[in-house]
């Protein structure tokens, strides 16, 4: 399977609040709340680090989860976030990412 790259959308507002990442789509004001694991992935979504590497570095290490378990969950998560326009997904590095 080819590498998956993820980048935070620039069209959102985001802030950590009480251990959760609050994200608002600035386009339609939809509000999302990400738990600590999802927030770790979101924060690491720099457009150039592959998702499996992000999961290894920021999820498995921090939350003591096996990559084989964490990666499918992470893939499902990023697909969901991408559908709401708050994350971009690509099979190549995303150059315009912040």
């Amino acid at each position: 399977m080819s590498a998956v790259y993820i980048a935070r959308s620039r069209e959102v507002a985001a802030r950590m609040l009480g251990g959760e990442m609050m994200i608002m789509s600035a386009r339609d004001s939809t509000l999302f709340s990400l738990n600590a694991t999802a927030a770790a992935i979101w924060k690491a979504a720099d457009g150039v680090t592959p998702l499996d590497e992000i999961v290894k570095q920021h999820v498995c290490a921090a939350f003591e989860v096996d990559p084989a378990v964490a990666l499918p969950d992470a893939e499902e998560l990023v697909q969901g976030l991408a559908q709401h326009g708050i994350l971009k997904i690509s099979n190549a590095p995303i150059e315009e990412a912040s």
């Binding site: 609040l17 609050m22 912040s98």
Partner: protein, 378 residues
């Protein structure tokens, strides 16, 4: 969505996080609105670097909702540098502007930076009325141009319609104008005192009968007028009063002036510190004044806690009460609104011997009303 925002607010309050801040970049303005509460001279605005540093501090403190206002924000030549910095820090940004200086290039940049919304002050659908209020000839035409340019680019635009003597009869025209421009509409029937406490502009407030009309117009309420104007439910019970806060000012929100002064709210000019000498988070957490505001619950309001409107038909503003001399007292303007809404006197009105509020009573003096012709012909 509303439940999530309420939950965010509860979390912020529990953790003492300033969730929302209004930052005024300047008090300078290209308009001279007759009802404006600001002194438009520049008494030493924060520099670009100071504002960017403040934004860094606010992001670190947990601020999420950032309202950038003025004065007219585009009077600052570094406006876009500041806005870009704010969005880089991922604030949810709302702009307040008169939009007079928004041309295609400005609209493109604002749209590209993705605002939560842009609120534009519009006073009338008739240029002669709007321009007489702003004292800037051609301002309605320019504001409309700016609004349309933004809306065409997908920016959420809100027309803010402050009602006063001069334009009371025109609000339906402004609603139609908003629809034409692809904008939302919000109304504010209250003229507030100047920040220095000068109350002379309160004589621009609409009359009680007009206020009653506003409160019975379902198109302005977002709910049925029967529900909105229902009789008061009686004073809040003691336990609820102990746990109910007067408003978000100082609890989850505050205001920063162009000079770095921090207040609980733009309408609550109680000095709590200055970010030029003290870190923003230290003012927020440790200012004695901020903590005093924060300590006040409904149960601490000697008059309002006994008022039959306390259960929900009052939108008491502690800032207006402060400007009347007692942040724990009633605000006569809000008492007037509660009365106009329900026809039932408030405890504050009874205490004053049922005298209508200063500022509102002045309207009933035998002085010809400038602008009355606008109302008559509407």
């Amino acid at each position: 969505m509303i439940a999530m925002i309420r939950e965010m607010s509860n979390t912020a309050q529990r953790l003492n996080i300033p969730l929302g801040v209004q930052l005024d970049l300047t008090y300078r303005c290209n308009e001279r609105c007759v009802h404006c509460y600001l002194d438009h001279d520049d008494h030493g605005e924060m520099s670009t670097a100071e504002i960017k540093d403040l934004l860094d501090q606010m992001a670190e403190a947990g601020v999420f909702f950032l309202t950038i206002s003025g004065g007219e924000i585009l009077m600052r030549r570094d406006f876009f540098e500041i806005l870009e910095h704010a969005r880089r820090l991922m604030f949810c940004v709302k702009l307040k502007t008169n939009a007079v200086m928004i041309h295609e290039a400005e609209a493109d940049r604002i749209a590209a930076l993705t605002m939560e919304s842009v609120q534009i002050s519009v006073y009338s659908h008739r240029a002669e009325v709007h321009d007489a209020i702003t004292k800037l000839p051609g301002s309605l035409k320019k504001s409309m141009r700016g609004a349309k340019l933004l809306a065409e680019r997908g920016v959420k635009v809100i027309f803010a319609n402050v009602l006063m003597r001069e334009n009371f009869g025109d609000y339906q025209g402004v609603q139609a104008l908003a629809a034409e421009a692809g904008a939302e509409y919000t109304v504010d029937p209250t003229i507030t005192p100047m920040m220095d406490g000068d109350r002379s502009i309160l004589n621009l407030n609409i009359e009680r009968a007009e206020l009653e009309q506003v409160f019975r117009d379902a198109s302005l309420l977002g709910m049925s007028s029967e529900e909105f104007c229902a009789p008061p439910a009686g004073p809040m019970d003691e336990e609820d009063a102990m746990n109910t806060l007067p408003c978000s000012a100082g609890h989850t929100a505050c205001y920063v002036s162009p000079y770095g002064e921090v207040y609980p709210c733009v309408q609550f000019p109680l000095p709590t510190g200055n970010v030029r000498t003290t870190k923003f988070i230290d003012i927020w957490k440790h200012s004695p004044q901020m903590n005093e505001v924060r300590s006040i619950t409904m149960a601490d309001l000697p008059v309002c806690s006994t008022c039959s409107h306390g259960g929900g038909s009052c939108s008491r503003c502690p800032g207006l009460a402060y400007l009347e001399g007692n942040m724990r007292g009633p605000s006569s303007q809000d008492c007037e609104k509660s009365y106009a809404r329900t026809g039932v006197e408030t405890a504050g009105m009874k205490l004053r011997g049922t005298q209508p509020a200063a500022g509102l009573v002045q309207i009933q003096l035998a002085v010809p009303r400038p602008g009355l012709q606008y109302v008559a012909s509407a």
